[in-house]
């Protein structure tokens, strides 16, 4: 396993606009990093360039200090798991997994030993003689993982590997992938558009938008301190409050309402708060409170979601309650100081 460095990577197809704009990042040895973004943000392009399946327009891919930008894909010694699993339909599970070892011209004894070992590790021992068409989606995914791992790759790349599975299996598979990653001390780059999935599985998450990196940090930091409006929006912040006029370093005034935050305002223009962090309170005159009227409500299972009209615009509120509040109710909202985050971009 190894450390991966991507340096000023750019890509444009057929001389058209750039889909990757000068991105750089480093993934440490043994780290599990997810690249998160909506479709077309460049996450799959990045992964394919790292794999060598696509040439970059400029920039470098460096592994353990060695520039491999010009090394062809079949000589990179990486493992890759594809969204479609991409198993060889004409080969059995055993032959699929053995393929990479055969390409490395290992002795038959060693191939058999290593394939058996990895099949047992991934719970596929019983299925060795089956063909891919005879397996369920989850089993195919496991074969695909085993096939990538058996060659002991320097880097494991995964392109939306779970998106073709149903919700329950997806959670189970991601736990299994995480377990294997820790057990085998793998360096993993995992591409996904599912925020929950990547927060659950990753050491760090790299959020991309329009060919650029928006934020690269631990899931906790991204969740509690989104850097930009895009990131905040992407991970479920729905309320955006403009910083009208700065009163001091941590206080601002918007529509005659004074709001405080624990974070420095600096040059920022917007603050944000998650719907579940907005409180519905009784006393109207505390810090960071404002009046509002419920416009609509929605049942979410464990809580109700309300859209509340206030002087600073509509605010989404989530409240855990057994019975909903009724529409047109006049209520007081508190935007707790510690939950009001400043967005610097």
């Amino acid at each position: 396993m190894a450390e991966l460095e991507v340096k000023q990577l750019s890509k444009s197809f057929d001389g058209k606009a750039k889909v990757l704009k000068d991105i750089s990042f480093t993934i440490k040895d043994g780290e599990f990093v997810s690249i998160l973004g909506s479709s077309g943000c460049g996450k799959t392009t990045t992964l394919r360039i790292i794999a060598g399946l696509l040439d970059q327009t400029s920039g470098q891919v460096i592994i353990d200090g060695q520039d491999i930008s010009k090394v062809p894909v079949h000589k990179r010694n990486f493992g890759m798991v594809f969204q479609s699993y991409a198993l060889f339909p004409h080969l059995t599970v055993f032959q699929n997994v053995a393929f990479g070892l055969k390409m490395r011209k290992l002795a038959t004894n060693e191939i058999n030993e290593r394939v058996k070992e990895i099949l047992n590790l991934t719970g596929l021992g019983e299925l060795a003689q089956r063909y891919p068409a005879e397996l369920s989606g989850g089993q195919q995914q496991r074969v695909s993982l085993a096939r990538a791992l058996v060659t002991k790759p320097r880097l494991l790349l995964m392109d939306e590997p779970l998106s073709n599975l149903d919700a329950k299996l997806r959670v189970k598979m991601r736990e299994e992938i995480r377990r294997l990653q820790k057990q085998l001390k793998l360096t993993v780059v995992f591409v996904t558009h599912d925020q929950q999935e990547c927060f659950a599985i990753s050491d760090r998450v790299l959020i991309m938008n329009a060919g650029k990196i928006e934020q690269f940090d631990t899931p906790e930091n991204i969740f509690h301190h989104p850097k930009s409006k895009f990131v905040a929006n992407f991970i479920g912040y729905e309320n955006f409050i403009n910083i009208g006029e700065k009163v001091d370093e941590r206080t601002f005034k918007t529509n005659d309402l004074i709001l405080k935050t624990n974070e420095e305002l600096r040059q920022a223009e917007v603050t944000t708060i998650r719907p579940e962090n907005v409180q519905i309170v009784d006393e109207p005159d505390r810090e960071n409170t404002l009046r509002g009227e419920i416009i609509s409500s929605e049942y979410l299972g464990q809580s109700f979601s309300y859209l509340v009209r206030t002087v600073i615009g509509n605010i989404y509120v989530e409240e855990a309650r057994h019975a909903p509040r009724s529409e047109n109710d006049q209520i007081v909202l508190e935007l707790p100081v510690k939950h009001l985050h400043v967005l610097y971009r």
Partner: protein, 277 residues
């Protein structure tokens, strides 16, 4: 409507196959097997005549060689076409089929001009000094093979483009990431997935060449008979209808047997359970 009511929709097709394929074959077969002495006479004399056996061998050999060459040329061409961008792929696919819009007789006459003593092939070969005097290419087995390859290549390419464009390209990428170079990916990953397409194409070409009449008639001259031209000679020139019928049946049997063997051979190579063969 119950789902299996749909099977009645097959009736028109089944009736026309029975009426236009099997009925004529039976009509041809009956007079040749009406009694044992006729049967022995007709089929026995075919196989005791070295001339006729040589015609059968030639027909078979021409079909095998043609199929082989068509596979050899068709595979790389269709791989290349199938992997082009959509627009170019469509244009190329149409261009491939374009010659088929012309009458087969006309196309074969074009080969007479190309392959003749003063044709472009002989002129070219002499210009680069491979031969010193015009070679006789026309009216040989070679010219029949050339004409047949030209005739059946579009069918093979069209059949293969269909199979290739159904392949999941990620499977090839997976092979590359696992350390397989492009050539090894072609041999170990692409070709094994194309067995059905290759077989379909090969059977079409083989059956087509075995039974073709126009091409061997025009490009083979009267010294290089194949089964179909032999049938014509027996029936039309010699008025020997029963003998022509017997030869036709032998041709049908040899073709059918070869195709069954081809299928069996491919099945041995490709033991996937989901194999559609």
């Amino acid at each position: 409507m119950r789902a299996n009511n749909g099977k009645y929709l097959l009736l028109p097709a089944l009736i026309s196959v029975a009426l236009f394929t099997f009925y004529p074959i039976i009509q041809i077969a009956l007079p040749t097997i009406k009694d044992f002495s006729t049967f022995k006479d007709l089929y026995g004399s075919f196989f005791t005549s070295t001339y006729n056996v040589r015609v059968l061998g030639r027909t078979f050999l021409i079909a095998v060689i043609t199929t082989f060459i068509v596979l050899l040329i068709g595979l790389p061409v269709s791989l290349w076409i199938a992997r082009q961008k959509k627009n170019l792929r469509q244009v190329l696919s149409i261009l491939i089929l374009f010659p088929m819009l012309t009458n087969a007789v006309v196309r074969n006459f074009a080969w007479i001009i190309i392959l003749g003593r003063d044709g472009i092939v002989n002129k070219l070969l002499m210009a680069i000094g491979i031969i010193s005097k015009p070679a006789s290419i026309l009216y040989t087995n070679t010219s029949i093979v050339i004409g047949s390859v030209y005739l059946f290549l579009p069918i093979m390419i069209t059949s293969l483009i269909g199979s290739i464009s159904e392949l999941n390209i990620e499977v090839e990428e997976a092979a590359a990431v696992l350390g397989s170079n492009p050539f090894s990916t072609l041999i170990r990953v692409i070709l094994p997935q194309l067995t059905t397409g290759l077989l379909t194409g090969a059977i079409l070409v083989f059956a087509g060449t075995m039974t073709a009449y126009t091409t061997p008639q025009i490009l083979g001259g009267n010294k290089h008979l194949v089964m179909s031209t032999l049938i014509y000679q027996q029936a039309m020139t010699l008025g020997n209808w029963n003998s022509a019928s017997a030869i036709a049946l032998i041709l049908i049997l040899v073709s059918a047997l070869s195709m069954i063997l081809m299928k069996k051979g491919v099945k041995l190579l490709d033991r996937r359970p989901d194999n559609a063969n």
